[in-house]
């Protein structure tokens, strides 16, 4: 509900510190203590599995093929999870959690780690009883079963999806000391489905139809208006994510993918598409998801997710424990307007920039992984990244953004982000000028 930074600005106490009761025990803030020794099944502080000893797992037989019909990550990866901030929202049914970007490699987000943003909880939908109705300004109002939809010609695309409130807590200042919370409302998956244009052709869009309303089957019955040009361009009605049916929290059994546009329009649990001649001006495109400017006017229908980037190593959760020497700076960049053309990285707060290496393939409207080797001298550093997309758009500084939009717009904050690396290797979120 509240993508509203003033909810955050209050000096409310932060959520509970790392628990001291968990099995993993006394992890210091920021995860500074190496966890391996306290991992399940191992006596703390013992190194009996290290060479020259032969490890336990080499001397016994492991479980067989049926032990885990649907695999799960290693128990040693228990901390690689989505997290939320308790004091952000009144209820978990209308709330946000965040993708652990600092734990990800490459560009694909595992389905179980994709950030969640629901307005009325996650519905448990029986696909046999799910329907999509396409009606309004069409020649033939149609109703589709899930089997119908899967029968249509299919398409797969890898796209990022970002909540426009990503980083929205940071308009007024640096508040969240972790990349999971400053940038974790983005994920990137392979999506498979039928082009929306194919379904619309089936129903026959009347010439006077200029917009459509997409509606979810959840308790929020979420709705957004989408211009017909975008609908016919590259939107996909998806039933699969990363090779399997969509996860419930991501819209099972059917969701809309609107590549490069803000996450909220990509209606999950899609049940209805209605064609009309004007937008609907519903709650999520008036009261919410509009950008309040300093003059008190709000921009409406600001769909595009402009180019953004962030360094994911180092970051507050991944401090420079190793001391001075080699460190590969790693991060992610993306743009709703197309491909990332270049990412520049600075370690001196923007005085000197170097172009990072981009991992191929660099896809349109997709996360792009960048890397730059760095030799850390052990002194304080201000690490930043600056994305440039194929349209020539350059990611702005926070000062540049604020000069135009003030600090009350909540949404679409895509400023160059700064991590301060301290001499002891810890890393903090700061804003600089």
């Amino acid at each position: 509900m509240n993508d509203d930074p003033r909810e955050v600005e209050r000096p409310t106490p932060p959520p509970a510190r790392p628990s001291t009761t968990g099995r993993r025990g006394f992890l210091a803030r920021g995860g500074l203590v190496a966890a391996a020794a306290s991992a399940p099944g191992l006596a703390f502080g013992k190194d009996e599995n290290l060479p020259p000893n032969v490890p336990e797992w080499t001397k016994s037989l492991g479980p067989g093929v049926t032990a885990s019909p649907y695999g799960a990550p290693s128990p040693f990866e228990k901390t690689v999870v989505r997290r939320h901030v308790e004091w952000l929202t009144a209820t978990e049914q209308s709330s946000i959690n965040f993708t652990p970007l600092h734990e990800l490699h490459g560009i694909v987000t595992p389905s179980g780690l994709c950030f969640e943003r629901h307005h009325g909880g996650v519905p448990e939908i029986d696909p046999a009883q799910h329907r999509l109705i396409v009606h309004g300004m069409v020649d033939r109002p149609l109703i589709f079963t899930m089997d119908d939809i899967v029968r249509f010609p299919s398409v797969s695309r890898i796209h990022f999806l970002e909540c426009p409130a990503n980083g929205g807590m940071e308009w007024k200042g640096a508040q969240m000391d972790g990349v999971q919370f400053t940038h974790g409302m983005v994920h990137c998956c392979e999506w498979t489905g039928v082009r929306l244009s194919t379904l619309l052709a089936e129903a026959g869009v009347k010439p006077e139809a200029k917009w459509l309303l997409a509606e979810g089957a959840d308790a929020a019955a979420m709705t957004r208006s989408i211009p017909i040009d975008k609908a016919l361009d590259d939107c996909i009605v998806c039933y699969a994510q990363n090779g399997e049916r969509i996860r419930p929290e991501n819209g099972y059994p059917l969701r809309l993918m609107v590549p490069g546009w803000e996450g909220n329009v990509q209606i999950k649990w899609l049940r209805r598409v209605k064609l009309g001649d004007r937008p609907w001006h519903h709650r999520e495109e008036t009261s919410k998801y509009t950008d309040l400017m300093p003059d008190g006017k709000a921009r409406q229908f600001t769909f595009m997710m402009e180019a953004n980037s962030v360094v994911t190593s180092p970051c507050p959760e991944k401090p420079m424990k190793h001391g001075k020497g080699f460190h590969e700076i790693r991060g992610l960049a993306w743009s709703g307007r197309g491909r990332i053309k270049r990412v520049d990285v600075s370690v001196d707060g923007g005085n000197t920039w170097k172009a990072a290496e981009l991992q191929e393939p660099v896809l349109s409207k997709c996360l792009t992984r960048f890397r730059l080797p760095w030799s850390w001298d052990g002194g304080p550093a201000f690490v930043q990244s600056r994305a440039i997309d194929e349209t020539g758009y350059v990611q702005p500084t926070i000062d540049q953004l604020r000069a135009v939009r003030g600090v009350n717009s909540v949404y679409h904050k895509n400023a160059i982000h700064t991590w301060r690396v301290n001499s002891d290797g810890t890393v903090n979120n700061v804003q600089i000028t």
Partner: protein, 219 residues
Amino acid sequence: MSRSRNALALGLAALALLAATGVAAQTPARHGIGRAATAAEIRGWDIDVRGDDGLGLPPGKGTVEQGEKLYLQQCASCHGEFGEGNGRWPELMGGHGSLTSEDPRRTIGSFWPYAPGVFDYVRRTMPFTAPQSLSDDETYAIVAYMLNINDLLPAGAELDAAKLRAIRMPNRDGFLQGDPRPDVVAKGEPCMTNCRKEPVRVTSDLARKLGVTPNNRGN
């Protein structure tokens, strides 16, 4: 010889034609999948009311007085008796003149541009724990009460579709159409060396003090 060559040429042409039509046949405008949605099926799900002109508003009516009763029973526990919002639950009133302040309050009274949009939202998803449980008359009544606590409808009033359409919300002209972005545009090529005129100055260092760092609880 020449006949067979002709035949071959013809065959190739036919093949090319076949290929062309073959491709077309694979992507017909219509696939004949799905079936006509019946009027009854559509009616059950076609709940949207257009925010600005109220297209789709159902028949029905309700008074501020009836609305107050329903609101106190079904809404006030979260939104407060007068829409002031309990704790972190959304507030539904007030905020006039706050949109240019440091602490803008976006409410039905201060921010929502159109009254029929309120009807659409309440009918589709409130009360939060029992969405789509209100009748149309109840929805009119509750919307009437919410407009009343925002000084947009007098206490004795009754609300129906026509009256709802006629209400002019205070922030009616508060929205800018047409996305002006990119509105922050770099001039020239991005600088690569000696870009700073002044040394780095930290303007915000609150995050470290707040300490909202993802922990390792594994929750």
